[in-house]
Amino acid sequence: MKTLEIPTFECETGNYHTFCPISCVAWLYQKIEDSFFLVVGTKTCGYFLQNALGVMIFAEPRYAMAESEEGDISAQLNDQKELERICLRVKNDRNPSVIIWIGTCTTEIIKMDLEGIAPKLEKQLGIPIVVARANGLDHAFTQGEDTVLAAMTHRCPEYNRRTADQHEGNIARRVAGDVAPNRKFFDGKDRSSGGNLVLFGSLPSSVASQLNLESRRQSISVSGWLPSQKYTDLPALGEGVYVCGVNPFLSRTATTLMRRRKCQLVGAPFPIGPDGTRAWIEKICSVFDVKPNGLEERENQMWKNLSDYLEIITGKSVFLMGDNLLEISLARFLIRCGMVVYEIGIPYMDRRYQAAELLFLQHTCEKMKKPTPRIVEKPDNYSQVQRMHELQPDLAITGMAHANPLEARDIDTKWSVEFTFAQIHGSVNARDALELVTRPLRRRSDSILGCRNLSRQAVNV
C-alpha cells in the first residue's frame, strides 16, 4: 500500500459538549423491537434522557430509569435485590425478550457489579440480561451504541461452518424476511460466493435493506446484522465469518468481534456518501474476491443526481466541532462535494478501526486538491470558538449548545445530532445528508433584514 502523509492529529483538553452515551437507548430501543433498556443511574441521567428525547418520552417507550437513591449509594440497600424487584416489574409489565442494563457513571463510581449480578438474575427471571457500560466517564454520545453492541456480540449464536452450509438457506431467509423481504435475492449464485458476511451497526431497517441491496448487486449476500430487528434473531458469529462496520464509532464492537468471536474484520471506509458507499462495497468485494460490477457508473449517476446541492456548497468552508464520531466520514464526503474543511473535531479517534477511512480522506483531499484538515481529538469548545472567529467558516457543524449563539454571531450552523438520527448511509441517502448540510446555506440566501450579527456579547465568546 502506498503510504501517504497522514493528516496531523492534535489533542486538546476534552472540554467539549456532547450527548451522554446513554442517549443510545433512544435509537436502540426502536431498532431492537423486543428489548427493554434499563438505565441504572441517577436523576441527572433521567433528566437528560427526558429532555433530550423530548416527545418520545410520552409514547410509553421501552426504556426506563432504575434511579439510585441515597440508600443505594451508601450500600444500605442490596443492589441485586433492588434490581430484581425492578426487573420483575418490567418483565410483568412489558415482557421483553431481553433487558439491557445501561451502566452509568454512578454504577462505575460505586462499583456496582452489574456484570456479576446479571447472570444470577438472568437465571432467576428467565430473561437474558445484557450489560453495557455506556457512561460519560469513558465514552461520548454514539459510543454508547458501541458498548451495547459489543456486549451483545457475546450473545450471538455460534457459527458452525459445517452445519451452516445446511442451515444457511434458512438463516438467510430469516434475515431476509427481517430486512429485505424480496426473496429473489437469495437464490442462485449468491451462495457460490461462499463467504459469510455480517454487518454491524444500528441502522433503520429501510437503510439496512438498501445496504443489503448494494452488496447483493455484487452477488454478496449479507447473512445478518448486529443488531437485528429482534433480539431473538441475532446473527451467528464465529471463525469464517466476515464482519464489516457501517459506522465509524464501533471500534469496541469490532475489537470484540475479532478477538472474542474470531471473526475477520473488513476494514473499509464507511458507506456515507456515494464515494464512501462505493469504497465500502469495493473493499467487501475485494475480500470476497468478487470483481465489482458497474460501481463507477453508479457512483457517477449518484453525483449527477446531487448536482443541484453541489452547486450550493462547492467552495464553501465548513468547521466540524465534533461530538458524534461521524466527523471523519462526513468531512471526507463534504470535501468530495467540493467543500473546504477547516477542522475536524472528534471525541475519540481510533486510527486502526478508521484506518481505511483516514486513508480515503487523504486520497480525497489530494484528488480534490483541497488542504488536509486538522483533526482535533478531544477538542476544547472554547478554543474552537476562538478559531472559528478567526476562520469565519461558511458553516459550523456543531452541538445544540453552540448552535444559537453561533447563529447570533453570523456563523451558519447545522446541528450535528441530526446526522446521527437522519438516514445518511448508502448512496441513495446521500441526498438526505446534503439536504441537511445545505439547509442553513439555502436559508442564508434569502435571509431577512440584512442584519448579520444579532448578539450583544463581545467578540470573544
Binding site: 476534552g14 472540554n15 467539549y16 459538549h17 456532547t18 450527548f19 451522554c20 452515551p21 446513554i22 441504572v40 441517577t42 436523576k43 441527572t44 433521567g46 433528566y47 437528560f48 427526558q50 429532555n51 433530550a52 423530548g54 418520552i57 410520552f58 426506563a64 430509569m65 432504575a66 434511579e67 439510585s68 437513591e69 441515597e70 443505594d72 449509594i73 440497600l77 424487584r85 425492578i86 418490567v90 457513571c105 454512578t106 462505575e108 463510581i109 460519560g136 466517564l137 469513558d138 465514552h139 461520548a140 454520545f141 472554547y382 470558538v385 452541538g399 445544540m400 449548545a401 448552535a403 444559537n404 449563539p405 447570533a408 444579532l454 448578539s455 450583544r456 456579547q457 470573544n460 465568546v461
Partner: protein, 514 residues
C-alpha cells in the same frame, strides 16, 4: 432504587445553574462527567438564548476517578477567570461529585488565592434537594455572600431610597413565563408609585447587590425560589417581604394591599401622608383587567359547574385553583403539586376549594387520578397535556416542566392584571367553546371519531360496547360524555355485565339518578 420514566423537577445542579447563569457575568463550573452539560442545550434551545451559556464542565473522567481531580478543577477555575473575567465563579457539584466526595471547598479556597473572580462552591446536596430547592438555596447563598462581604468591608449601603422601592426576587432563566412576568411585575408596583430597586437573579449584577437593602421591601412572586433570599434580610436588616403571588384578580389585589401597607409605614413616617391603593385596585380590576368582566359575561356562564383537574408547581397550581373556583365558578375536582417539600402550605392554600388534593412526584399517579375523575379540562404541565391527549381531554399548560412552545415570543405574563387576561383566555380556550358544545348536543355531534374510548394510561379492564350502545353516549352533552361512559362501565362491572347494550346504558343511568 426506583423505577422511573419521568420526573417533574430536575436534579439539584440544574437549579444552581439556572440561578448562576441568570446573573450577569457569573460563570458556573460543573464538576461532572462528559455529557452532563446538557443544561447548555436546554438554555440555548428553549430560551433561544443568543449568547453562550456561561456554564462549563470540569470533566470527571477515568483519571479523576483513579487519582482525584487534583489540580484539574483549580486549573479550570483559573482558566475561566483569565478568559472571561467573571465577577463570580460558582463551583457546582453534581451527583457524580457528591458520590466521589471530593473536597470542593478546598478547591475553591485554593483557586480563590490566584483568581480575580470570587469563587464559591454551591452548597446543595444532590440527594436531599431537587432543582427548585437548589435554586432557592443558591440564590440565597450568592446574595448572602455578597451582603456579608459588603458589610464586613463597610460598603453596604443601608439607607433606604427616597421614594418607595422594591426588589423582585426569583425571576430566572428557564422559569415558566418568567420574562413576561418580570415585565408585568415591574409595571405593577411602578404604577402604584413604587420603583423597582433590583430584579434578581435575572440580569442582576453582583456589583449592585450591596444596594439590595436600600429597597423598602422585597417581593417574592413564586413560592419555589426566592423565599430563602427574602427571609434572611428580614432577619438581618429588618427588610419586610411580600410572598403573595399576584396571580389572578384577588391575589393581585391582595398583593397591592400588602404593598400599600408596607409603603404607608414609611410614607407616614416620612411625610405623614398615607397612600391609598384602593382606587387603583378598583380601577385596574374593573377596567384594565378584563377578567372580572369576563367572568361576569354571558360566555362564562357556560363554564359554570364544569369540572377541572389541576397539577403543577405549588405557586401555579394553587393560584390557578383559586382563580378557577373563586373567579370563574368552575369546579375543581382535584388540585395537586409535585412540590412535596411545600406540601403543607399547598394543602392549606387549596383546602376547601377542591374535592381532593394530591401531592406526588409520580406522573402515573396523576394520570390515573385524572382518568378516574374525567374532568372537562386539565390545567397542568406538559406531562398532563400528554395525559390529556391520550384520554381526549383538553389541557392548558400552567406550569413547568415545559417545552419550547411555552417560551412564547409574544407577551404572555401570568402575573398582574395583564396576566389575568392571559389566564382567562387560556382557561376559556381550554374548555370546549360554549356554543360549539351546545350545538353538538343538539345535533348529536358531528364528529365520527369515537369519544373517550382510548384506554387511560393504566389498565382499565376492557368492556365491550355493542355498536348501538356505543352511539348512545354521543347523545349526552359533550362535557359529561366521558363521565357518563365511565359510569356505565362501572355499573357494568359491578353487575358482572361483559357487554354493554343500550338497555345497560339506560339501566346505569337510572341507577345513578335514583
Amino acid at each position: 432504587m426506583k423505577l422511573a420514566y419521568w420526573m417533574y423537577a430536575g436534579p439539584a445542579h440544574i437549579g444552581t445553574l439556572r440561578v448562576a447563569s441568570s446573573f450577569k457575568n457569573v460563570h458556573a463550573i460543573m464538576h461532572a462527567p462528559l455529557g452532563d452539560d446538557y443544561f447548555n442545550v436546554m438554555r440555548s434551545m428553549s430560551e433561544r438564548e443568543r449568547d453562550f451559556t456561561p456554564v462549563t464542565a470540569s470533566i470527571v473522567d477515568r483519571h479523576v476517578l483513579a487519582r482525584g481531580s487534583q489540580e484539574k478543577v483549580i486549573n479550570n477555575i483559573s482558566r475561566k477567570d483569565e478568559e472571561q473575567h467573571p465577577d463570580l465563579i460558582v463551583l457546582t457539584p453534581t451527583c457524580t461529585s457528591s458520590i466521589l466526595q471530593e473536597d470542593l471547598q478546598n478547591f475553591v479556597d485554593r483557586a480563590s488565592l490566584s483568581s480575580e473572580s470570587d469563587v464559591i462552591p454551591a452548597d446543595v446536596n444532590y440527594h436531599r434537594v431537587n432543582e427548585l430547592q437548589a435554586a432557592d438555596r443558591t440564590l440565597e447563598q450568592i446574595t448572602r455572600f455578597h451582603l456579608d462581604r459588603a458589610r464586613s468591608r463597610k460598603t453596604l449601603d443601608r439607607s433606604v431610597t427616597n421614594g418607595p422601592s422594591a426588589n423582585i426576587i426569583g425571576i430566572f432563566t428557564l422559569g415558566f413565563h418568567n420574562q413576561h412576568d418580570c415585565r408585568e411585575l415591574k409595571r405593577l408596583p411602578g404604577e402604584s408609585g413604587v420603583a423597582v430597586n433590583q430584579v434578581m437573579p435575572e440580569g442582576g449584577s453582583l456589583k449592585c447587590l450591596k444596594d439590595l437593602p436600600r429597597a423598602w421591601f422585597n417581593t417574592v412572586p413564586y413560592r419555589e425560589v426566592g423565599l430563602m433570599t427574602a427571609t434572611f434580610p428580614e432577619k438581618d436588616y429588618g427588610m419586610p417581604y411580600i410572598s403573595i403571588t399576584p396571580m389572578g384578580i384577588s391575589n393581585t389585589a391582595d398583593f397591592i394591599v400588602q404593598i400599600g401597607k408596607l409603603v404607608n409605614v414609611w410614607a407616614y413616617a416620612l411625610s405623614e401622608k398615607r397612600l391609598n391603593y384602593k382606587l387603583y385596585v378598583d380601577n385596574q380590576t374593573k377596567f384594565v383587567s378584563q377578567a372580572a368582566w369576563f367572568s361576569k359575561s354571558i360566555d362564562c356562564q357556560n363554564l359554570a359547574g364544569k369540572e377541572a383537574a389541576i397539577f403543577g408547581d405549588a405557586t401555579h397550581a394553587a393560584s390557578i385553583t383559586k382563580i378557577l373556583v373563586k373567579e370563574m365558578g368552575i369546579r375543581v375536582s382535584c388540585s395537586g403539586t409535585y412540590c412535596k417539600h411545600d406540601a403543607e402550605r399547598f394543602d392549606e392554600q387549596v383546602r376547601g376549594l377542591c374535592d381532593e388534593v394530591i401531592v406526588t412526584e409520580d406522573h402515573t399517579e396523576v394520570g390515573d387520578t385524572i382518568a378516574r375523575i374525567g374532568p372537562s379540562a386539565i390545567f397542568g404541565t406538559q406531562m398532563e397535556r400528554h395525559i390529556g391527549k391520550r384520554i381526549d381531554i383538553p389541557c392548558g399548560v400552567i406550569s413547568s416542566p415545559v417545552h419550547i412552545q411555552n417560551f412564547p415570543l409574544g407577551y404572555r405574563p401570568f402575573l398582574g392584571y395583564e396576566g389575568t387576561n392571559q389566564i382567562a383566555d387560556l382557561i376559556y380556550n381550554s374548555f370546549n367553546l360554549g356554543m360549539e358544545d351546545h350545538s353538538l348536543d343538539v345535533f348529536g355531534g358531528h364528529d365520527t371519531k369515537e369519544v373517550s374510548t382510548k384506554s387511560p394510561p393504566t389498565g382499565r379492564k376492557h368492556i365491550n360496547w355493542i355498536p348501538e350502545a356505543e352511539s348512545e353516549p354521543n347523545r349526552i352533552p359533550g362535557f359529561v360524555r366521558g363521565r357518563a361512559k365511565k359510569n356505565t362501565e362501572v355499573f357494568a362491572k359491578q353487575n358482572n355485565i361483559s357487554e354493554i347494550t343500550i338497555d345497560v346504558t339506560y339501566a346505569a343511568k337510572e341507577k345513578l339518578s335514583s
